[in-house]
Each structure stands twice: as C-alpha cells, then as structure tokens.
Symmetry: C2
Subunit: 141 residues, 2 copies
C-alpha cells in the first residue's frame, strides 16, 4: 500500500540542488580538480561549462591514473592537463520530472546521476543516499 | 505482498565474499594502499590484520589529505606513513544473518558495510549496489 506514495515522488524533491553541489569548470587544470575533490571529500563531482551546462564528471581515480608513471605519481603533470582530458561522460542525466522507479534503476550502477533541463543546464544531482532514505521511509516490513 | 520475500533475504546472499574484495593489510605503507585504490578503481577498501580480522577502511581522500602541504601534495611522505595512521574505524559491521531492513538502514550513510563473524574475522562486504538491485527486483509499481 505504501508503494503508492513512493511512485509519486519526483527527482526535484530528492535532488541536491546545483548551488549545493561541488563542481569544477571545463578548462580547469586537473590540479584544481584534485584540490576540490580532496577538500570537499567527494570521490567524484560534476564538470560544467561556462554557461553551467553539464559536461561530465571527474574523480580522483581518473586523475591519479592519468599521472601514474612507472616509478611514481608524477604530480607535476597535474597543472598541465585539463579536466576535459580526464573526465567521464557516461554518467546518466535525469530530467526533474523523472519518476521514482526510473531514478532508482539509474543509481543501481552509479553513485549519483545529474539532473539537467531540456537545454542540458545543470540543476542538481540525485544521489543513492536520497533514494535509499526514501525506500527506507516507505518500507514497513 | 512482494515485501514478504525481501524481508527474508540475508546478508550472505547479497555480500561480495572476502576473496573478491580488494583490501590492504595493517602495517602497509599508505603508498601501497594508494596504488591498490588507484589500480582497483575503488574509492575506499577494507584494512585487515594478519589474521584477516576487519580493522577499518582506507580511502583516497584520507590518504591525499594526510600529505597535502601548503604548496603541493607531498608524495614522498606516502612511503613513510602506515595505513593505521590514516584509516577510518567508523564503518559499520554486520553479521551474516542480519535481516534485509537493517542492512538497508546501514547503507543509507555508508557506501558499504563490512561483514564479520563473532570473532571479527572478515567475511565480505555489503554494498549499496547489492541493496538497490534487490529493492528494484521487489518493487513492482
Ligand atoms: N561530506 C560528507 N558528509 C557526510 N557523508 C558523506 C560526505 N561525503 C560522502 N559521504 C557519504 O559517502 C557516500 C559516498 O560519497 P562519494 O563521495 O564516494 O560519492 C558521492 C559524490 O561523488 C557525489 N556527491 C554527493 N554529494 C555531493 C555534493 N554536495 N557535491 C558534489 N558531489 C556530491 O555523489 C556520490 C554519492 O553521494 P551519497 O550522498 O549517495 O553517498 C555518500 C555519503 O553517504
Ligand atoms: N570496477 C568497477 N566496475 C563496475 N562498477 C564499479 C566499479 N568500481 C566502482 N563501481 C561503481 O561505482 C560505485 C561506487 O564505487 P566506490 O569505489 O566509490 O565505492 C565502493 C568501494 O568503496 C567498495 N567496493 C565495492 N566493491 C568492492 C570490491 N570488490 N573490493 C573492495 N571494495 C569494494 O564499496 C563501495 C560501493 O560499491 P558499489 O558496488 O555499491 O558501487 C560502486 C559501483 O556501482
């Protein structure tokens, strides 16, 4: 019976809005991205273009893999490379009106999905934690 | 009605067994831990003692934070520090017979929980992905 409520929850009610999402800009060196990731504590964050459109995501693994040499991590290369050379572009995007079940399926294989409008403008992120909190609320077992 | 099935699923059916879990050993330098994390691609993995008891978890953020100096990441310090100086010990542990609802509540705030027996011996990990796959299977909306 409680499933009827969960079916009607929308992305907009669950997402972390853009202003609260740590991100980096296209064109930033990966050195800046790594600082943002270490200081925020997040393993991966969105990459946005100058008009705040969603472009991809960047994470510590990809950054460190890109500078891992035969002998050591070549950290001097961090200032030379840009986020677009290293970012992932396979993170799913969702529209704000997407239904709950589609959202849940989306986060099975991704820790978060990006919320964008019809123009690709970044509106926020939908995290696994937000989905799990709702499922927990609605599961009376 | 389908909730009746989900209630009976046990940790043992959902967890990734110990032999498939990337981990590091107590006493390892964090340089080795960082290599394991970058090469496996995982953001955080368990730390085990020589008798395979679960001790904590170690992740890239904690490692990089520990070597972040005023000017740069001081990577030469990585070989000098041990995982126990940097690991987290607040990751929840679950027993193999724990019920599904408790498991789900546990991963609301943690990407994974460690499965241990009565002696603290490491048996595997219970991930958010495993929980979300089951919820998705059992939610016919
Ligand atoms: N500062 C903090 N305080 C309390 N708990 C924290 C935390 N940082 C991480 N966590 C916990 O660890 C989980 C995994 O974080 P991770 O950074 O790997 O993976 C995160 C990160 O890549 C991204 N993310 C979450 N919040 C973000 C934000 N405000 N800005 C940018 N990216 C964010 O979404 C992924 C999934 O987030 P989710 O919340 O489901 O799951 C988070 C959350 O439960
Ligand atoms: N090599 C890979 N292939 C395909 N997908 C991958 C992947 N590496 C990561 N992912 C995806 O990214 C999610 C977050 O991974 P993360 O490494 O931050 O966080 C992981 C990692 O810290 C740990 N973990 C998962 N599997 C592990 C393993 N075999 N050994 C050690 N730690 C593991 O549990 C956390 C949650 O894992 P979960 O599966 O729920 O969620 C994973 C999974 O959906």
């Amino acid at each position: 019976i409680e499933n009827m409520d969960i079916k009607n929850i929308k992305v907009s009610e669950l997402m972390i809005p853009a202003e609260k999402v740590a991100h980096v800009q296209l064109g930033n060196p990966i050195e800046h991205a790594l600082l943002v990731l270490v200081q925020s504590g997040y393993s991966s964050v969105p990459v946005l273009d100058p008009s705040y459109r969603f472009c991809g995501t960047i994470g510590k693994t990809a950054i460190l893999k890109s500078v891992l040499g035969i002998e050591r991590f070549e950290m001097e290369l961090l200032s030379q490379r840009k986020v677009e050379e290293v970012m992932r572009t396979d993170i799913p995007s969702l529209h704000k009106d997407t239904d709950f079940l589609t959202c849940m399926k989306t986060v099975i294989n991704f820790a978060f999905a990006c919320v964008v409008d019809e123009n690709g403008s970044f509106e926020g992120i939908l995290t696994r934690r937000a989905i799990l909190k709702q499922v927990n609320k609605h599961m009376y077992l």
